[in-house]
Amino acid sequence: MTLKRWNPVIRHIFMILFSFIMVYPVLWWIGASLKDSTELGSPGIFPKVLKWSNFTNGWNAIPGHTFTDFYLNTFGLEIAVIIVTLISCTLVAFGFARLDFPLKNFWFSILMLTLMMPAQVLIIPQYALFHQLGWVNTYLPFIVPHTLASGAGGTFFVFLLIQFIRGLPKELDEAAKIDGCSWFGIYWRVVIPLTLPAVVTVMIFCFLWNWDDFLGHLLYINTVDKYTVGLALRMINDSQSAAEWGQLLAMSLVSVLPATLIFMFLQKYFVEGIATSGIKG
């Protein structure tokens, strides 16, 4: 009986310890970004002296460019990709969820199959294709696939939106149809406003997956002036000696800040998105 009463306490102590171990590397990272490189071996979180120059020097570590350029590049690419993804994926999902057309089930099973398609099998022929089109070292190899509901996560987003739209009452469509609404009208005026929670989830994951699409950036972006944040980090990592670890950790930390902020402010969309669709973070 006494053991039963203590069970929740033990569980909480275990969970607090475990959570601490899980986030400790990140806490240490925050401290380390302000540490002098002589202090980087110490497991303590708080630096003895705050070395803010890790951030300022790290920001300018690549000659001729600052991280401002790389963030502008990455955010520009992200905005373009998110806009075209939202347009294409909602259109496709509406078609699958609400309209009847010949071979619909066939195409839907193909869609489900491509959900599991390992992307790396396609990178060589896609690269050859984009190379022939002269798209290497532009952002088109990211924007065009997303316009066609492909690219990082495209099929997942279509699937997630189909599931969501199927859950909306069909009577709304019927009512709008009687009022003389076209299919596009139903899509734009009836379904889209109700799909906004799922649209936010798609935006979040589209942003995250493109931010971390390191292999794609590595393949298609060759010149420093078009570099994304991830490529810039790799460039510092390759070119600098161990003495500048503080700068590297500081810049790495800034690079995960966008994802963290999105998570902090839009947490409920995350958990719902993951739990309902089985999407990976």
């Binding site: 475990f18 110490s42 496709v92 099998v121 022929p125 294709l129 509901a149 279509v158 950790l249």
Partner: protein
């Protein structure tokens, strides 16, 4: 008389037929218009490239030279005279077999503990989910390289407990383990899925079984695991497919080394294709990878007949 009925009656029928004609044909055209972005994307960026890479795999294609058909020579070379292929397959299988079970077990255990907690659940969930949010980024890979380096904090922490440190990333017998650990550290998103699944299990199942005298262990194997098995099945397949394609952390943290102990298949594919531009040879490697992933998926789904449990329509499970 005749002409008047003919003039009156067919007219509404005609408009009626016209509208039904339109609504019957309107939807298919509109349907294809709506799904056209995906359809074009599928044909141009998935189906066509898939066949193209199959064709490339039988050629000596490089971006510079004209294409030449060489039959199965790429495949013959891969299977008979390519030690790097053998070693990268071994490394990849080791990585998959170590990281996937560890990640799923950690996710399931922690989800079960969290499911019982009433207070503080969202704080714990946030702390545990957070690593999987940022873990795939190059930033975290760089962090990992520092932590497990010779002068990193991991050595200093285990030093406190009297263990001797080493360069975990630079020594051949531990390098892959650090990459596995990075993957397992990101079990949070899988755990959130398990947590949602655990909450769906009706509590009367547990109540009824404890009345019948079942203890916690029996309950776990007879109720929790079977009820969760469809979710486990889905997560297993997705984790295996993901693990086969592991690239970023091996590329950034260890760059395939030391002594090729972390030289995973995706890195080998990348090197053949984009450092040496042997696109034909690399396409053969890509197809072998696809077949390995398909084989693994089929094996898992065959095995699922024995361990995945689907709820019947009446709400209680039935072994299928």
């Amino acid at each position: 008389m005749n002409s008047s009925t003919a003039a009156i009656t067919p007219a509404p029928a005609k408009t009626k037929r016209k509208s039904s004609f339109l609504s019957r044909w309107d939807a298919p055209i509109a349907g294809y218009l709506f799904i056209s972005p995906w359809l074009i994307g599928f044909l141009a960026l998935t189906a066509y490239p898939l066949f193209l890479s199959l064709y490339y795999s039988f050629t000596n294609y490089t971006l510079m030279q004209p294409i030449e058909w060489i039959g199965t020579r790429n495949y013959e070379k891969i299977f008979t005279a390519d030690p790097k292929f053998i070693s990268s397959v071994k490394v990849t299988f080791t990585y998959v077999l170590a990281s996937v079970p560890l990640k799923l077990i950690a996710a399931l255990l922690v989800a079960m503990i969290l499911a019982k907690a009433v207070r503080g659940i969202s704080a714990y969930r946030t702390a545990i989910y957070f690593p999987s949010l940022i873990g795939g980024s190059i930033g975290v890979s760089l962090l990992w390289r520092n932590i497990f380096g010779v002068d990193g904090i991991f050595n200093n922490i285990i030093g406190v407990f009297g263990f001797e440190g080493k360069g975990w990333i630079t020594s051949p017998d531990s390098a892959l383990s650090t990459l596995v650990l990075l993957t397992v550290w990101q079990f949070g998103s899988t755990m959130v899925i398990f947590l949602a699944g655990l909450k769906q299990i009706p509590s009367d199942l547990y109540e009824a079984s404890s009345v019948d005298g079942a203890n916690k262990v029996v309950q776990f194997f007879r109720i929790t695991l079977p009820m969760l098995s469809p979710i486990l099945y889905f997560n297993l397949i997705m984790a295996v497919i993901g693990a086969f394609q592991m690239f970023t952390s091996a590329f950034v943290i260890t760059n395939g080394g030391p002594m090729n102990t972390t030289y995973v298949y995706a890195m080998y594919l990348y090197e053949r294709a984009f450092s040496r531009y042997e696109l034909g040879y690399a396409s053969a490697l890509a197809w072998i990878m696809l077949l390995m992933i398909i084989a693994a998926t089929i094996l898992i789904s065959i095995s699922s007949k024995y361990w995945v449990f689907y709820e019947s329509d009446t709400g209680r499970g039935k072994r299928k």
